[in-house]
Amino acid sequence: MLGKKAKPRILFLTISLLISSLIIFLILKSLEENVVYFFSPSEIYNKTNISLDKKIRVGGLVKENSLLKEDTSIKFIITDLKNEIIVSYEGLLPNLFSEGKGVIAQGKLKDKKYFIADTILAKHDENYMPPEVSKALKKTNN
């Protein structure tokens, strides 16, 4: 079915495809630190070469009952259910920010357990449902 000329072309194309995927894989692998948008509290806990002056992002869940508000200064805890980081922040919170939900804080670490944020982003998860369903789910869980 294939012409005589087609075979070397297919071979050449397959090899160049494999090589370019390998190159892309290696580039992404080496850039992993930059490709990840945020670190979890555990990743920060396990990190050895941490810099306190560099801006980073920490993400996880807002711990239940950890939110403290005084005027515009806000404190809460980001947890990944293994490790925790206290976040302090001054400013407005996004509408979808709430306890038990995903959050990403951008700013600088003071130490491994304390983070000073200048921006707070709410992270939405992959669950979509009407309010009644969510209520019903909560009832069955309790």
Binding site: L2, G3, A6, R9, I10, L13, L17, S20, S21, I24, L28, E32, V35, V36, Y37, F38, F39, S40, G59, P94, N95, L96, F97, K101, I104, T119, I120, L121, A122, K123, H124, D125, E126, N127, Y128, M129, P130, P131, E132, V133, S134, K135
Partner: protein, 235 residues
């Protein structure tokens, strides 16, 4: 199905087929809009902004799907050298470009009220922007390079390189931490979207797919006619 894309079939394509498809499309998209805007419930956290998803998700889906077709055609084109198949990819590219743009714009409109920010450089959003650039490059090569054979070759290489970006887009949310949420609908597990919200999503997807088909048929027919005219001029 592929046989229907052969030049002689397309060239005898009547306008009535396109008109029929057009009325079906208008019907389906109106139905999808009714579901999206009125019959479907608001989300328990996002409220009404969940309705943006009914355009965002089908657009993203189509933009990825069309580029995978362009990529596969590019491979076939460089290996088998069938005369008319690059014209299929050439006709699909502007449609894919439009849907990528729609996906990015609606995503950013959703991001502001949900995340609190229009745009971030996380892996999903960045790889989607790269897809847009690949579409741009692909279209520009056909526009700028005068020599047909040359344009055909360069655009195919771009199509193949862009193909490698597609798994990065799809799995970016699983491989790295991203602000963008993971996929709600996958082949392997139950969807995490309530069924009342899947209905408008699927209807809209069908409507937009028919739209893509219509635009594709029109463009492809014109490309084939152009090719014929060129051949006649050379003779």
């Amino acid at each position: 199905m592929f046989k229907n894309l052969l030049p002689h079939k397309i060239l005898t394509l009547t306008n009535s087929l396109i008109k029929n498809l057009l009325s079906i499309m208008i019907l389906i998209i109106s139905l999808a809009l009714l579901f999206a805007l009125f019959f479907s419930p608001p989300d328990y956290i996002q409220g009404d902004s969940v309705r943006i998803m009914y355009v965002h998700v089908p657009s993203s889906f189509i933009s990825l799907g069309l580029f995978s077709i362009i990529g596969i055609i590019s491979i076939l084109n460089l290996t088998l050298k069938i005369k008319f198949i690059p014209l299929i990819a050439k006709s699909l590219a502007p449609i894919g470009f439009a849907f990528t743009l729609i996906s990015i714009v609606t995503g950013s409109l959703w991001g502001k009220p949900t995340w609190g920010i229009w745009w971030v450089w996380d892996a999903r959003l960045t790889s989607m922007l790269i897809l847009l650039l690949f579409y741009c490059l692909y279209i520009l090569v056909w526009k700028i390079v005068r020599n047909y054979e040359k344009a055909n070759k360069i655009s195919s290489i771009i199509g193949i390189l862009g193909l490698l970006n597609l798994p990065v887009i799809r799995y970016s949310v699983d491989w790295w931490n991203t602000l963008h949420q993971p996929s709600s609908i996958t082949l392997t597990s139950a969807p995490t979207i309530h069924y009342t919200m899947i209905i408008p999503l699927v209807i809209m997807l069908i409507g937009l797919l028919i739209y893509s088909l219509i635009v594709f048929l029109m463009r492809y027919k014109i490309e084939l006619i152009k090719l014929k005219l060129k051949k006649r001029n050379i003779k």
